[in-house]
Amino acid sequence: MQEQNELIKILVEKHGRTRNALMPILQDIVAEKQFLEPSDIALVAEELDLSAADVYGTATFYTFLDTVPRGKNVIRVCKTISCYMSGKDEIINALEKVLNIKVGDTTVDKQFTLLTANCMGWCHKGPVMLINDDVYHSLTPEAAIEIVQQYKEKSKN
């Protein structure tokens, strides 16, 4: 709680207390902890003198401002047309298998959340996925598994 207070205080200092600062503040919280808890929303609302419902309304509009618990690494596989044509289904199957979860779920150790998303701007190099902010394109199922393994290794160290 203390830490959370600190983070939000710092962000409010950085971005300001106007409503125009709301998106940057929420984005930075998500960058730090992957999703927004009800208490984050309440705190931000208080700092910016907005109603919590208002802040919640904004947050829930945006796919990347998650308001449900997410793993440390959020994987988003593109499912739009070009990636559909270049084999996104095989990528999703491979990831579901290696992570042992279905799309929409988070692993028990809270390391990974697997999601799908719409066109990410790499249609000439599909299939594509984002892990947090990083892009991986021209995927094969093997490559996707390999990349996830690397994240697993990293989290061990």
């Binding site: 125009n20 998106m23 990347f64 070009s82 066109c119 249609c123 190099k125």
Partner: protein, 387 residues
Amino acid sequence: MDTSNLKKVDIIFSKVDNPLQILDKALQKSPDDIINEIIDSGLKGRGGAGFPTGLKWKFTKNEDSDVKYVICNADEGEPGTFKDRQIIEEVPEKIFIGMALAAYCIGAKEAYMYLRGEYNFLKKDIIPKMEWFNNEIKNRGLDVTLYLRSGSGAYICGEESALFESMEGKRGEPRNKPPYPTKAGYNNKPTSINNVETLVFVTMIQHLGVEEFKKLGTKDSRGSKVFSISGDTPIPGIYELELGMKVSDFVREFGDGDTKAVQIGGASGFCVPRKNFENTIIGFEGIPTGGSVMLFNSSRSMYNILHNYLDFFVEESCAQCTPCRAGLQQLLKGIEAIKRREKPASYLNELIKLSQTMKVASKCGLGQSVANPFVSIVENFKEEIIF
């Protein structure tokens, strides 16, 4: 490729030795002179809608307000479009110069780039470059500052008024128009919003001169355009081509020998079947595009393609107006029901009518353009949709 009828161009990505010289040269002219040059060049917006850029700047300049804004739309979310990302990666300073010139011309002190969240990885390069640029313009005594704002995964925020709402910390729900952004945009102040590529063209028109730019393209489609080419092609990628080409010439160059249809303008654009390749022009006099061109060969099911587009729109609609929200659900359920034989083939005509109603009754460009892919795919590939 020698037999190609397409003219490849290298304006957008060309490296300029000292790009700040372009800014310095332009700043010796008055705002009106620059605006008139851009009007004269015939440059139209490269974000899709194709509004004349010079006029947009003139309208914003003519508004009486102490506070005005410039926005660079880097939300690039149209399926099949990826050229703005590459422009931002390769020639950001040319975008910044375009933003600074827009601010100088209309009388704005703040210029924002709204970058889609999917491109967050670009920030570590962009932010220091923007700081450097801000310093350079300060040194020149120009009272303009560039800022970066991010999206958070919502296609609709590429629509200009939804983008303003998002920057104001609200849900990205498009506003009613009028008033137009030139009168009441970000913070309800006069705002000139342009696509990334449009702003680079402004810079390059200043660099090369109006006449050089006008040599390219046709009367209605001046200049060149960066295309994002994907789908069934051996050479997917980003190409700058002269505007006003025939689809047939395009397919000869980029097709895989088995092209049955080309989708121009992304999910919200039009599907051109093979029989129309010869008599369809890519450009403002034919099919305008933000640059997305996708090729489909005969192994593809047009039903699956249409279904994928509709899934996209259902998810990305902001759902604030009924024609779009309910219409999309009905179109999707409708084609599924016909496929399963629960509805007769004639039901397609009702769905076409519904999409045409959406065109007139929806609040923004998203709902209004669903009929483009829907009608052009259904009418040209009826058998594939039904059976």
